[in-house]
């Protein structure tokens, strides 16, 4: 049995690679996301071509639909009790569609301490597995909670 370590600043290493689970985009994922962020754009939901009025042949999904798949990559290697997202940069390369079989590939490119807090920076690419097409790429910075569990900022 593989034993996962709890994520910490000391344990993670620059250059470490991550990979998400593979994921097939389903209509209910788009529905759930649309409700969560209250975005019901016809480009994502309308079956009728005229009603949709989109340059795309068929429906696409929210460009940021797969953000959490990228964030959860580290859960495949570590126990992650909590963390806070500090920054993100995303480039949207190609539209995401229902039925695509996707996976996120990531690499830890930096880790640093600032004002007593620990941060890790991960570069990522979300790709369609069948074709290798990059859909979204970028990097994100996360703050890792200390073993004690509480940062001062949380008390604001």
């Amino acid at each position: 049995m593989i034993e996962f370590k709890t994520i910490s600043y000391e344990v993670v290493q620059i250059g470490e690679e991550f990979r998400s689970d593979d994921f097939t985009v389903k209509p209910e994922d788009v529905d759930t996301f649309g409700y969560a962020v209250d975005d019901h754009d016809p480009w994502y939901f309308e079956d009728d071509d005229n009603e949709r009025d989109s340059p795309y042949d068929g429906k696409i999904t929210h460009p940021v639909l797969l953000g959490n798949l990228a964030l959860f990559m580290r859960h495949n290697k570590y126990i992650v009790p909590a963390g806070l997202h500090a920054k993100i940069h995303c480039e949207f390369v190609a539209p995401i569609r229902v039925g695509m079989h996707v996976r996120v590939y990531g690499k830890l490119i930096d880790k640093y301490e600032r004002r007593g807090r620990h941060y890790i920076v991960t570069r990522f690419e979300t790709r369609e597995e069948d074709t290798g097409q990059v859909l979204v790429r970028g990097n994100f910075t996360q703050m890792i909670f200390p073993q004690s569990g509480v940062h001062q900022h949380a008390k604001r």
Binding site: A36, V37, D41, A82, I88, F92, A154
Partner: protein, 141 residues
């Protein structure tokens, strides 16, 4: 969408979102020991209520940009965001964007906006920028 001038200082129509726990649950997935969906755990970590996942704010920026630029954002758009204050369940966020620059990128017209989200008290929770191409505007202006 109302017409937005392609010149520095022009404001996009703001988006207002009051975020309820069910939406956070749908976005983050309900898990025990999660600061987003487990109130007791969030309190143990020092937060007064569950936290809205920071990435949800980028979805609001994306919504503004797709509505305006259409395919010019879906293919070739970018978002850069820093999350500077926590957003809690029940908060009302307003997402805003103002045109910062208009220029040619690889021979195509391209716009960059400064964007941010602020809560019901006027406190900025996210700041950043977004960009995309303007040659495929929706609802041609």
């Amino acid at each position: 969408m109302p017409s937005v001038e392609l010149k520095a200082g022009a404001a996009l129509p703001a988006l207002k979102k009051t975020i309820v726990q069910r939406q956070i649950d749908c976005y983050s997935g309900v898990r025990p020991n999660s600061i987003h969906t487990d109130l007791e755990w969030a309190k143990q970590k020092g937060f007064p209520r569950t936290l809205v996942q920071a990435l949800m704010s980028t979805a609001y920026v994306s919504q503004m940009m797709v509505k305006w630029l259409g395919a010019g954002f879906v293919q070739g758009g970018q978002i850069s965001a820093s999350f500077i204050n926590p957003v809690y369940e029940g908060d009302t966020l307003t997402a805003r964007a103002v045109v910062k620059s208009v220029e040619d990128v690889s021979g195509r017209p391209h716009v960059t906006v400064e964007c941010w989200c602020e809560n019901q008290n006027g406190l900025k929770t996210m700041v950043g920028s977004a960009s995309g191409f303007t040659d495929q505007l929706r609802n041609k202006q």
